[in-house]
C-alpha cells in the first residue's frame, strides 16, 4: 500500500510538473529547470532601419518585428510553419485561401485584432505612398499586389478581403502552395490602424507602438539598444517565458565577441571572419553553427563580350575547388554549393553538375578545352569586382588563384564600397561580381528569382525561356510533387547555362550562451522568435 501510494504521489508530481511546464511554455523540455530571471540580451547585427513591419527590410529589423507583431502564420524555432494570428487556414480553390483569426488575439492596448486590421496592414504595405522595399517581393503572391504597389491598380483590387470579423480571404495570381509560409512575414500581417492614425509617423516610438506580438516595445535608444518586454495582452502570453529581451545593434564582430566574453551579451550575431575554428576549440558549448538558406555566389555578366560565351562561364565555374574554399579559406562550416537553389530548400532539389564528382585534373583538362574552343587564351585578363571586406577579399584571392594556376587567366581584382558594387551590379557594369542571397521564405522560387528572365534580382542578364516556361507550369501545378519536379528541372536547365558560379551555402557561425534554451539550430531561415526561447537555470 505504502509502495503504491508513493508511486501514485510520484506519478501525480510528474503529471503536475508536466502540466506546469505545459502551462509555462509548451516547448521547454521536461526536466529543464528555468532560471528565476528570464532576461536575454542578443546582438542583432545592426540598428533596425524601422520598427514599422511594412518598412522593415533588414534581417535585424525583421527579427524585432517578429517579436512585436504577429502575422497570420509564424515559424517556430524548428522552422515549421505554425498558427500565428490565424488559428487555422484552408485552400478553398487553387488560388484562394481562407484564414480564420483567433477570437482572443488583441493588440497590446487591449483592442481586438480583426480581419480588417489584416486587410488594412496589407493594403498599407503595398500602398505606393508607404514605398515599402519589399512591396514587389511579397506583393507578387497576392492577386494584383505588384500592380497596386506600382500604382497601376487600386489598393481595393488587391486579393485580400475581410469576409467577416475573424475571416480573411487571400487570392493569389497563381496557385501558391506555400502561401502559409509567405504569410508568416510581418509585412503581410495586420497593422494597428487606430494607433497609426492617432500618432502618425511617430507610431513606432516607445510608448506609442501598439503591436500584437508576444512582446511590447519598452525602450529604443538608437545605435544603443532596443528593449522589449513580455506582452500581457498576447493571446499565448502563458507560453512566453522570457520577461525581457534587449537587442543590441553591434556591427563590429570583435566588439560583439568582447561583450559576450564579459557577460554583457548572450548572443553573438556572427563570429568575425577567421575566428570560427578558434572559438570552436575554446568555447565548444557556446559555438553554434547551423545551415541557413543562403547562397554565396559570383555573378557572371552575360552581356559582357567575354562572359557571354557559355564555355568561358562553365570553365570558370569548373575549376574552383569548393571543398578547399569551404574547409580552408572561409573555414566557418559552410558547405560547397553547385546550384542556385540551396540544399534543404522546399519546392525544388539543389541540382549539381556531373563534373562536381570528377577529379580536379579532369575538371581542369575539360575547362581548358572549353576555353580553347571559346578562343580565350592563357594570359588573358578578366576582372572581378567585390565590395571591400576581408572575408570577400580572401574568397576573391582564392578564386583568382584558381583561375590563374589552373587556366592561366590573370584576374584583376577590383574592390569598392558596398553601395558602389550594388549600383554596378544592378546596372550590369561588371564582368564577374561577388553576390549573395538569403531566402525570404522557404521555397525554391526565392532563389530562382536570381536567375529568372527579367527578374529584378537577376544581376547576370541571363534568360532561359524554356526554363521560364517550366517554372510557370510548375507554379500552376496543383500537385506539390509535380511542381517540385518541374522546378528542379528548370533549375537544372538554368544552371547548365552557367549564369552564376555557386560557391557556398550559408551557415550562421555564432556564440550563444549554453543557458539560452530553444535555440535549436533547425530554423533554416534563422528567424528565432523570442517567444520560443528561455533561460535555463545556470
Amino acid at each position: 500500500m505504502k509502495k503504491n501510494m508513493s508511486f501514485s504521489v510520484l506519478a501525480a508530481s510528474v503529471v503536475l510538473a508536466m502540466g506546469a511546464n505545459a502551462a509555462f511554455a509548451a516547448k521547454v523540455p521536461a526536466g529543464v529547470q528555468l532560471a528565476a530571471k528570464q532576461e536575454l540580451t542578443r546582438n542583432n547585427g545592426s540598428e533596425p532601419e524601422s520598427l514599422d513591419p511594412a518598412l522593415a527590410e533588414s534581417v535585424g529589423a525583421n527579427n524585432i518585428a517578429r517579436d512585436l507583431f504577429e502575422a497570420l502564420t509564424a515559424a517556430d524555432n524548428d522552422g515549421r510553419i505554425v498558427p500565428g494570428l490565424a488559428e487555422s487556414w484552408k485552400q478553398t480553390d487553387p488560388t484562394t485561401w481562407v484564414f480564420t483569426l483567433r477570437k482572443n488575439a488583441k493588440w497590446s492596448d487591449g483592442v481586438q485584432v480583426t480581419a480588417d486590421d489584416v486587410v488594412y496592414g496589407i493594403r498599407r504595405f503595398l500602398d505606393p505612398k508607404t514605398a515599402s522595399p519589399y512591396a514587389s517581393t511579397y506583393g507578387a503572391f497576392l492577386l494584383n499586389g505588384v500592380e497596386a504597389a506600382e500604382g497601376k491598380k487600386a489598393l481595393t483590387d488587391i486579393g485580400i478581403k475581410a469576409v467577416d470579423k475573424l475571416t480573411v480571404e487571400v487570392k493569389t495570381p497563381y496557385p501558391v502552395a506555400f502561401l502559409p509560409e509567405v504569410m508568416s512575414n510581418n509585412q503581410l500581417g495586420p497593422a494597428p490602424r487606430h494607433a497609426i492614425e492617432k500618432h502618425g509617423k511617430d507610431w513606432t516610438k516607445p510608448g506609442k507602438l501598439v503591436g500584437n506580438g508576444a512582446f511590447v516595445l519598452k525602450d529604443w535608444a538608437v545605435n544603443s539598444k532596443i528593449v522589449i518586454e513580455k506582452n500581457p495582452q498576447y493571446w499565448d502570453a502563458k507560453a512566453v517565458v522570457l520577461s525581457k529581451v534587449t537587442y543590441l545593434p553591434i556591427e563590429d564582430g570583435f566588439a560583439d565577441v568582447k561583450l559576450y566574453q564579459s557577460g554583457e551579451n548572450d548572443w553573438v550575431y556572427q563570429l568575425p571572419p577567421g575566428t570560427y575554428e578558434k572559438y570552436k576549440a575554446e568555447l565548444p558549448k557556446d559555438v553554434r553553427n547551423s545551415p541557413m538558406l543562403g547562397l554565396r555566389y559570383y555573378s557572371l555578366n552575360a552581356k559582357d563580350p567575354v562572359m557571354k560565351d557559355k564555355r568561358v562561364r562553365q570553365a570558370l565555374s569548373m575549376v574552383i575547388d569548393r571543398d578547399i574554399l569551404a574547409a580552408k579559406i572561409t573555414a566557418d562550416g559552410q558547405s560547397p554549393a553547385y546550384s542556385v537553389v540551396v540544399k534543404g530548400t522546399a519546392g525544388a532539389d539543389a541540382t549539381t553538375y556531373d563534373w562536381a564528382k570528377w577529379p580536379m585534373e579532369q575538371r581542369v583538362a575539360e575547362a581548358k578545352k572549353l576555353l580553347a574552343a571559346a578562343g580565350l587564351q592563357a594570359g588573358s585578363k578578366i576582372k572581378f569586382t567585390y565590395n571591400t571586406s576581408e572575408y570577400h577579399k580572401k574568397m576573391a584571392i582564392f578564386a583568382a588563384s584558381e583561375w590563374k594556376t589552373k587556366l592561366g587567366l590573370n584576374t584583376e581584382l577590383e574592390n569598392m564600397e558596398f553601395k558602389v558594387l550594388l549600383k554596378k551590379r544592378h546596372d550590369g557594369e561588371y564582368q564577374i561580381a561577388r553576390n549573395g542571397w538569403v531566402a525570404d521564405y522557404n521555397d525554391a522560387t526565392t532563389f530562382l528569382t536570381l536567375v529568372q528572365c527579367g527578374s529584378d534580382q537577376n544581376d547576370n542578364g541571363n534568360c532561359n525561356p524554356k526554363a521560364e516556361e517550366l517554372i510557370k507550369q510548375g507554379n500552376q501545378a496543383k500537385d506539390a510533387a509535380k511542381r517540385k519536379q518541374l522546378l528542379t528541372q528548370a533549375t537544372k536547365m538554368i544552371m547548365d547555362d552557367y549564369p552564376i558560379i555557386p560557391l557556398l551555402s550559408y551557415t550562421t557561425p555564432r556564440l550563444v550562451k549554453p543557458y539560452v534554451g530553444g535555440y535549436t539550430g533547425k530554423n533554416s531561415l534563422d528567424r528565432y522568435r523570442n517567444k520560443d526561447l528561455y533561460i535555463i537555470k545556470h
Binding site: 527590410e57 514605398a131 505588384v146 564579459s262 558602389v420 529584378d456 534580382q457
Partner: protein, 306 residues
C-alpha cells in the same frame, strides 16, 4: 574684441553655405543611392521611394528645398533610420559625444600640460622619459589597438568595467572610452607642451629672469607658461573638434551611440540628409572652437589684438 567675435560668428553663414553646397554635390555625385540594396527594388517601387523623399525633383530644387527646411531648423528625415528625423538622431547622439569628448578633452588638456611642464623642467630625467614614452605610445599605437587592449584588461580579465555599450549615462560605461581618448590626446598635448616649454626656457627673456634671481616657480608660472601654451592651443583646436564631434574609432570600439557612429552609417548608406545635418553641426562646432582658440591667443599674447 567682441565685435571681432561677432564678425567671426557672422562669417559662419557663408562658410556653412559653401560647406553644405560642396558636400551636397559630392554626396549626389557618389555612385549608389540610399535605396540601393542587395534586393533590387523594382523601378516602380523605387519611384515611389524617391517621391516620398523628394529625390525625384531636379537636384537644384532638392537643394533649395533642403536649405529652406534648414532655415526652419529642420534637418530633414533620415533614410537609414526611417523612423527618426535627423534632428532626433543628432539630439540623442550629440550629448553622448559631447560628454565623452568634452570630459576627455578637459582631462587631456590638464594632464597633458602638467606632464609636459614637468618633463620640460626635468629634461632627461626618469619622469621626462616616462612622459615621452606615453607620448610615443599614444602616437605609435592607433586607438583601434589600444581600445581593445583596454577592454581585454579591464572588462574581460579584471571584469571591473563593461566592455562597451551605453546605459543611460551610467558612469562606468564612460570610463574606458574617456580613458582611451584622454590617453591619445595627452600623448600629443604632452609632447607639444614639453617641446614648447623647453624652447621658451632657453630664450633670452627667461635667461634675464634667471639672472635677476627670480625663483624658478615665478619664472615658470609668470613668464614661461603663457608663451609656451601658444602651440598647445593650436593643437587643442583640431583635437577638440575631432574629439567632441565624433571620435569615430573610439565609438566603434566601445559600441557607443554617438555622432561618429551616425557619420559612418550615414555616409555608407548614402543618407544624404543625415550626413548633411552632421556636416552642418561639425562646421558650426569647428567655427566656434576656432574662434575660441583665436580668442585664447589674444589672452596669452599681448601682441595679438583684434
Amino acid at each position: 574684441m567682441w565685435s571681432y567675435a561677432f564678425r567671426r560668428v557672422l562669417m559662419t553663414i557663408p562658410t556653412l553655405l559653401l560647406v553644405i553646397t560642396v558636400c551636397y554635390l559630392m554626396l549626389h555625385a557618389t555612385p549608389g543611392g540610399p535605396f540601393d540594396s542587395e534586393r533590387k527594388i523594382s523601378a516602380a517601387v523605387m519611384a515611389n521611394l524617391q517621391a516620398k523623399y523628394h529625390l525625384d525633383l531636379p537636384l537644384w530644387q532638392q537643394y533649395l528645398y533642403y536649405l529652406k527646411s534648414l532655415l526652419q531648423g529642420d534637418l530633414g528625415a533620415s533614410f537609414r533610420y526611417a523612423d527618426w528625423s535627423v534632428n532626433d538622431l543628432v539630439a540623442n547622439a550629440l550629448p553622448i559625444s559631447a560628454l565623452i569628448g568634452g570630459t576627455a578633452l578637459l582631462l587631456s588638456v590638464v594632464i597633458g600640460i602638467v606632464l609636459g611642464t614637468i618633463a620640460a623642467l626635468r629634461q632627461n630625467s626618469l619622469i621626462d622619459y616616462f612622459v615621452m614614452l606615453i607620448g610615443n605610445l599614444g602616437s605609435a599605437f592607433p586607438s583601434f589597438v589600444i581600445g581593445p587592449v583596454l577592454i581585454l584588461v579591464f572588462a574581460i580579465w579584471l571584469a571591473w568595467l563593461p566592455a562597451g555599450g551605453w546605459n543611460d549615462y551610467q558612469v562606468h560605461y564612460m570610463v574606458l572610452p574617456i580613458a582611451l581618448l584622454t590617453f591619445i590626446n595627452v600623448s600629443t598635448i604632452g609632447r607639444v607642451m614639453r617641446g614648447s616649454l623647453i624652447e621658451v626656457m632657453n630664450s633670452n627673456f627667461i635667461r634675464t629672469a634667471k639672472a635677476k634671481g627670480l625663483p624658478m616657480r615665478t619664472i615658470v608660472m609668470r613668464h614661461a607658461l603663457k608663451p609656451a601654451l601658444m602651440p598647445v592651443i593650436s593643437v587643442v583646436g583640431p583635437i577638440a573638434i575631432s574629439t567632441i564631434t565624433g571620435a569615430v574609432v573610439t565609438e566603434s570600439v566601445f559600441s557607443l551611440p554617438g555622432l561618429g557612429k551616425l557619420i559612418i552609417n550615414g555616409a555608407s548608406n548614402r543618407d544624404y540628409t543625415l550626413v548633411l545635418g552632421l556636416v552642418v553641426l561639425v562646421t558650426v562646432v569647428a567655427v566656434l572652437i576656432n574662434l575660441l582658440v583665436d580668442l585664447c591667443y589674444a589672452l596669452l599674447d599681448p601682441k595679438i589684438r583684434y
